[in-house]
């Protein structure tokens, strides 16, 4: 993941794929998301960065309505997110999600994990789905583990399976919430490589991560959050070399020390 200098800039003339308008959310008294406005274009890769508790995960999870919002509007490909129910389920199928803790289905094999969405949700035939699932497992480099259970895999392998599981739904956008934070250092690269590959293939991605290497390589934009607000929005280069706000400077100072 070194030779990527020029990512095609995403097609901004097309309507935005994800759009948040004046979004507010509270957890009790805690105002976790404060007047968030965010547009994500087709093919764009947005990295969300910020101190712990700033609302990054919450922001990410509102996009497929795992967290409902209290105010404002979120649209996906022009459609507002519906209330809980069948309609929402249909929309969620279009949004892939990768969690920090992988969340693979513990009672299913790797292959079944990847096949479950397409067969149960999209009702596609098992043999065709299986073929596609094996291709995806190959793409993320875990095809040899297809018949094992998640607990038998390393963290890095599990996370790559989780990415394959999300891709199997052929989503329009992929959400990643700290996909490498639960991994041992030597496994981080194998997951990031898969993600860089996805970005290169034009996948629209929202990635909560502190991996600056990934942000510089694959992101079009970095969003810096603090205390529920978007404080800064910049290209990765600009953000990391020349942060504007004191809070971003302070934050970068802290993570760069390590």
């Amino acid at each position: 993941m070194s030779d990527v200098q020029t990512r095609d800039s995403p097609d901004r003339t097309d309507s935005n794929l994800v759009s948040l308008r004046q979004v507010d959310k509270w957890f009790g008294d805690l105002h976790v998301l404060q007047d968030i406005n965010l547009d994500i274009a087709r093919g764009e890769v947005v990295v969300v960065i910020g101190p712990s508790g700033s609302g990054k995960s919450t922001l990410c999870r509102t996009i497929n309505r795992l967290e409902p919002i209290d105010k404002g509007e979120i649209t996906l490909d022009g459609q507002p997110l519906p209330q809980e129910g069948k309609e929402l389920a249909r929309l969620r199928a279009e949004v892939g999600m990768v969690f920090q803790s992988f969340n693979l289905f513990a009672h299913k094999t790797v292959l079944d994990n990847v096949m479950l969405g397409p067969t149960k949700v999209r009702k596609r035939g098992a043999s065709e789905v299986k073929q596609q699932a094996m291709q995806l497992l190959e793409r993320v480099g875990v095809e040899a583990q297809a018949n094992k259970y998640p607990a038998q895999l390393s963290g890095g392998q599990q996370q790559r399976v989780a990415i394959a599981r999300a891709l199997a739904m052929q989503p329009k956008v992929m959400l990643f919430d700290e996909p490498t934070s639960a991994l041992d250092p030597e496994m981080i690269a194998e997951v990031l490589d898969v993600m860089v590959g996805l970005a290169r293939d034009g996948m629209t991605m929202v990635v909560v991560t502190h991996e600056m290497g990934f942000a510089r390589t694959a992101a079009n934009r970095v969003i810096f959050m603090d205390e529920g607000k978007i404080v800064e929005e910049e290209t990765p280069e600009e953000f990391f070399t020349n942060p504007k706000s004191d809070r971003a400077k302070d934050f970068l100072g802290k993570i760069l020390k390590h």
Binding site: L91, R92, S101, H107, G117, V121, Y149, A151, R165, A166
Partner: protein, 222 residues
């Protein structure tokens, strides 16, 4: 001892009927308990309230009372059906009462199982676009059943012993047979109690062994 040998047929018939009660009531409890737990964890508040009310009413009412109530209620509602002379009206009534009673405990055992499954499992299912029903049936319940095997075994062991309450409305199961023998034999009662205790212990032991087997089976696929 002689009393057991002389009445072996009667005792065996009683335990066979006990087993039928256990089987049918157990099936009702499993199906109804699964539906109840789906209500209990449903995202819809009204459904949760229905599930919770059922549990609170049924679990807090003595079983004997429920059996008597059903025994008295069904004829009032004009229901006195019997399928055969063996599966007669009182047998059906007792089966339904026992099944509905045990369902509350099956529901709570399953709910404990569901609560032991990390929330991430349901979130992953939902984020794939599964509906609540799909996520329950393909992701949550299969794992919850495994986690719930030990408390479910306790529930079914309790149900096996609780079938004896059916004697109150005249079902000729094992406890009924024991009462009959106790009336007929003034001496040898300790043998009678002993014999029936062994019968119940065998049933309970079989349930425990079955549960143990299931747990080992479930442990393999992980």
């Amino acid at each position: 001892m002689q009393v057991l040998i002389d009445n072996f047929g009667l005792i065996l018939d009683g335990f066979v009927k006990t087993l039928w009660l256990l089987l049918f009531a157990g099936l009702i409890a499993l199906v109804l308990g699964t539906l109840l737990v789906a209500l209990r964890v449903s995202p819809v508040a009204v459904m949760r309230a229905v599930g919770t009310s059922y549990i609170n009413v049924v679990r807090n009412t003595p079983l004997l009372l429920i059996v008597y109530l059903f025994g008295a209620l069904f004829p009032v509602l004009g229901y006195t059906a019997s399928i055969s002379s063996y599966i007669d009206y009182s047998f059906i009534t007792a089966t339904i009462a026992l099944g509905m009673y045990a369902a509350a405990f099956v529901c709570e055992a399953l709910r404990a199982g569901i609560n032991s499954i990390p929330v991430g499992q349901a979130e992953a299912a939902r984020s794939l676009g599964m509906t609540f029903g799909q996520s329950m049936s393909t992701v949550i319940l299969p794992q919850a059943f495994r986690a719930a095997i030990p408390p479910l075994a306790s529930t079914y062991i309790a149900l096996a012993k609780n079938t004896s309450v059916a004697l109150a409305i005249g079902v000729t199961e094992a406890a009924f047979a024991m009462k009959k023998l106790n009336n007929e034999y003034a001496t040898g009662r300790s043998w009678i109690f002993f014999g029936f205790a062994v019968g119940y212990i065998l049933i309970v032991w079989a349930i425990a062994a079955f549960a143990h087997g299931l747990e080992r089976q479930a442990g393999k696929a992980r």
